[in-house]
């Protein structure tokens, strides 16, 4: 991989040499010095970004891992001193039936449903957009962008209003149609309904990204392929499955990985719902449980342990996706 990059950057050489100053240590020979400099150049250019990532991501990540092995409560927060307690937080976490009964099923079940729904809906919208004329397409894209641009907190409150138990439009409509008695029904107390609302909310906020990304991919699929398939008598589904999908496989991999990461760690959309922030309620997922453990129960060590578990889970899922993606590339 290194050589082609070097060849590509070769064109910019004179300017680069001027900017890096006179060759100092590269005595052994001009060719070697240049090559070394070329090899170092990408790293030098990446350095600022890597430094920012290290400071903003790796450092807190390392701290969270460190915290998860310590007894860390409000008192430690004030004094700054804490005791190493080994894997005690992890032992407590993995022996807690709440993890297996509530938090993990909620997180994984929700993520699977939400990712599939987001990608399917996003793809359908992208296919629709691809067929529209440019002007209409701009109008529709602008409309769905509004959903994407809506902050999670405002979006969640809008859904809460829609599903308000007493005066919400859904309750009123169902009552008007006679499907629901005048006493109403508290859907937020029912795990399935609760997460159905969260799925609606998250899919609504997440599908525009998928739609726009897939649309960009769709526009690169050669027309000839579709025309050829059409001549061979392939229907719409076959054309999508055998022509569009293989070409867009990397695009689908990317949107699926990103959606998975977002949906695993969804927070505001659950926390702000009634019962979504109460410790011990049936509605918490791993992300909210981290927060409730840390800031509600003030057990920062335990909260960190949950956060580490969530991170490892995400890394594992991402690794599986990436493997599948690279294997595809190697085969081709």
């Amino acid at each position: 991989m290194g050589t082609p990059v070097g060849q590509v950057t070769g064109g910019a050489e004179p300017g680069l040499r001027a900017s890096t100053g006179p060759p100092g240590r590269g005595r052994p020979g001009p060719a070697l010095g240049l090559r070394r400099r070329r090899a170092l150049l990408p790293w030098a250019l990446l350095a600022p970004a890597l430094a920012v990532i290290a400071a903003l991501l790796l450092f807190p990540l390392a701290r969270i891992v460190w915290l998860s092995f310590r007894e860390y409560r409000l008192r430690n927060l004030v004094s700054g001193e804490s005791d190493f307690i080994g894997p005690a937080n992890y032992v407590t976490l993995f022996t807690d039936s709440y993890l297996w009964r509530v938090a993990l099923p909620n997180t994984v079940g929700f993520a699977v449903v939400a990712v599939v729904s987001t990608v399917v809906l996003g793809t359908l919208v992208a296919l629709l957009l691809a067929r529209l004329r440019p002007v209409t397409r701009v109008v529709v894209v602008s409309c769905i962008m509004v959903a994407w641009a809506m902050p999670a907190v405002s979006g969640t409150y809008v859904w809460l209003w829609i599903f308000d138990v007493d005066d919400g439009i859904v309750a009123q409509a169902l009552q008007g149609l006679g499907f629901l008695g005048p006493e109403g029904y508290n859907w937020f107390a029912d795990r399935l309904f609760f997460y159905a609302v969260v799925v609606l909310n998250v899919v609504h906020g997440g599908f525009p990204f998928v739609a726009v990304t897939v649309l960009a991919g769709l526009l690169t699929v050669p027309r000839e392929l579709h025309e050829a398939a059409l001549l061979d008598g392939a229907g719409a589904w076959k054309r999508f499955w055998h022509v569009t999908f293989p070409v867009l496989r990397p695009v689908f991999a990317v949107v699926t990985i990103l959606s998975t990461i977002w949906d695993f760690k969804v927070f505001a959309q659950v926390y702000l719902m009634p019962g979504g922030g109460v410790g011990g309620s049936e509605m918490l997922n791993l992300g909210v449980w981290t927060y409730v453990s840390s800031f509600g129960q003030r057990d920062y060590g335990m909260g960190s342990a949950i956060a580490v578990l969530l991170t490892l889970l995400l890394l594992a899922v991402t690794a599986v996706y990436l493997r599948a993606l690279f294997r595809e590339d190697e085969l081709r």
């Binding site: 450092f59 807190p60 969270i64 915290l67 927060l77 309620s281 800031f295």
Partner: protein, 428 residues
């Protein structure tokens, strides 16, 4: 100086937590350490009380004129206040002065977050004792009572008059009255039973003769939430919703602000509300002027009252800001008699100074009479364990109440709550 101490000890967790949870970061105290303080940051809780910005403009101007110190007041919603304070401690961005709910003080004092005020010769005998008790932890004084707040029943006098209803004096009468309102005013919520309001649950535990938690001789805490007495009270209150339907399904998710808003909108007829609420309700809906009445929470039997939670706030100074002395002088300024009276008059809260309570009660709005009775004759506090604030932070009583309103049996929910309370108070 002291601020530097905090930085020295907690830079790493502070940075980690601040970076991951940066959303609530606020500016720290304005002063730059050492002796010269030129600015103070003050956090005031916000939610069920009327608009208070005018009050602070006035008293802060007076303070700045007197001392040359600028004061910046930031309003923090009660909902989630404990999380915000913890985050601020983690990030080293605590304010200099903070209003703390009385139930919060022992926990934060015990953790070492609050400055001990006993060095300033605070005369603790001047303050309402129930509040002062929560500020005096171990040998120190970690907060000065600012105002007392109590919850009583508020009702719509026009609705009662129209349907010839009497003010109820027992639980049975309360239930019958609520049922009659429900019958007569089908569009109103006769008596909302909220799920997300723990102070609306406590009275009924006490009213039935139960205790939230008591400390045994050997120091362990035993919760009485699952005692037959407490269950009877909880059964009565939640039964208004689950059996009698005087509430509404959506109230399961209501907190005290939601009840107040329902009342402001004219949707509720009888409700358990704080003493600052009537004023806020009239601010929201001036049409209700003259239609608000109040009565102490009726007892299980006649001639008694059901005790109500005596809440209220203390003003505390954060440890390690470098501005402790200036912060204390601001606390003194706010708790001076005339400013305390001004605050009480503007909000409807009772002053934290014992001497001012009677003066205030005599001059106050008649709607507050029942509150004065409730405060003097039937008010209670929460268990004085440092870990109590964690029971609140974990929403144990809220979880219990919501479970019952959603169909869990009272026995099961109270057993769980008692277990949780004992686990937390006994340091589990």
């Amino acid at each position: 100086m002291a601020r530097r101490r905090i930085r020295k000890h907690v830079p790493l967790p502070a940075a980690a937590l601040a970076l991951t949870l940066a959303a609530t970061a606020c500016s720290g105290g304005g002063g730059g350490g050492g002796g010269g303080t030129d600015g103070l940051t003050v956090w005031i809780m916000q939610g069920t009380n009327p608009d208070e910005s005018g009050f602070f403009e006035e008293v802060n101007a007076a303070f700045t004129e007197e001392t040359g110190i600028d004061v910046e007041v930031e309003f923090v919603p009660w909902d989630g206040a404990q999380d915000k304070i913890s985050t601020a401690i983690a990030g080293g961005t605590t304010p200099d002065v903070i209003e703390l709910g009385n139930t919060f003080v022992p926990g934060f004092a015990d953790a070492g977050a609050l400055h001990d005020l006993s060095a300033y010769d605070v005369d603790t005998s001047l303050y309402v004792s129930g509040l002062m008790d929560m500020g005096a932890v171990a040998e120190g004084v970690y907060g000065v009572p600012w105002y007392a707040s109590i919850r009583s029943m508020v009702y719509r006098t026009d609705v009662f008059e129209e349907h010839d209803l009497e003010v109820p004096r027992t639980w049975d009468e309360l239930r019958e009255t609520a049922l009659e309102v429900k019958e007569a005013e089908p569009d109103m919520v006769a008596l909302p039973v909220p799920g997300d309001a723990q102070y609306s649950v406590m009275p009924w535990i006490w009213g039935g003769g139960g205790e939230i938690a008591v400390q045994e001789d050997d120091g362990t805490w035993v919760s009485g939430v699952d005692s037959p007495e407490a269950r009877e009270g909880i059964e009565f209150f939640t039964g208004l919703s689950t059996q009698d339907g005087t509430s509404t399904t959506g109230a399961v998710n209501w907190n005290e602000i939601d009840i107040m808003e329902a009342f402001s909108d004219g949707d509720a007829a009888i409700a358990l509300l704080g003493s600052a609420n009537p004023k806020a309700i009239l601010e929201n809906n001036p049409d209700l002027e003259g239609s608000l009445g109040s009565f102490p929470i009726p007892g299980a039997d006649a001639d008694t009252y059901t005790p109500s939670f005596a809440g209220g706030s203390l003003l505390s100074v954060f440890e390690g800001t470098g501005n402790e002395e200036a912060a204390w002088s601001y606390v003194e300024h706010l708790t001076a008699e005339d400013n305390m009276m001004l605050w009480a008059e503007q909000t409807g809260f009772f002053p934290g100074l014992t001497a001012s309570v009677d003066t205030f009660t005599d001059s106050a709005d008649p709607v507050l009479e029942a509150y004065a009775v409730q405060l003097n004759e039937a008010s209670r506090g929460v268990p004085t364990a440092p870990a109590w604030s964690q029971v609140e932070a974990e929403k144990v009583l809220v979880g219990m109440q919501q479970a019952i309103l959603n169909g869990t049996s009272v026995d099961e929910a109270t057993t769980q709550a008692a277990e949780d309370i004992e686990r937390i108070l006994n340091g589990g």
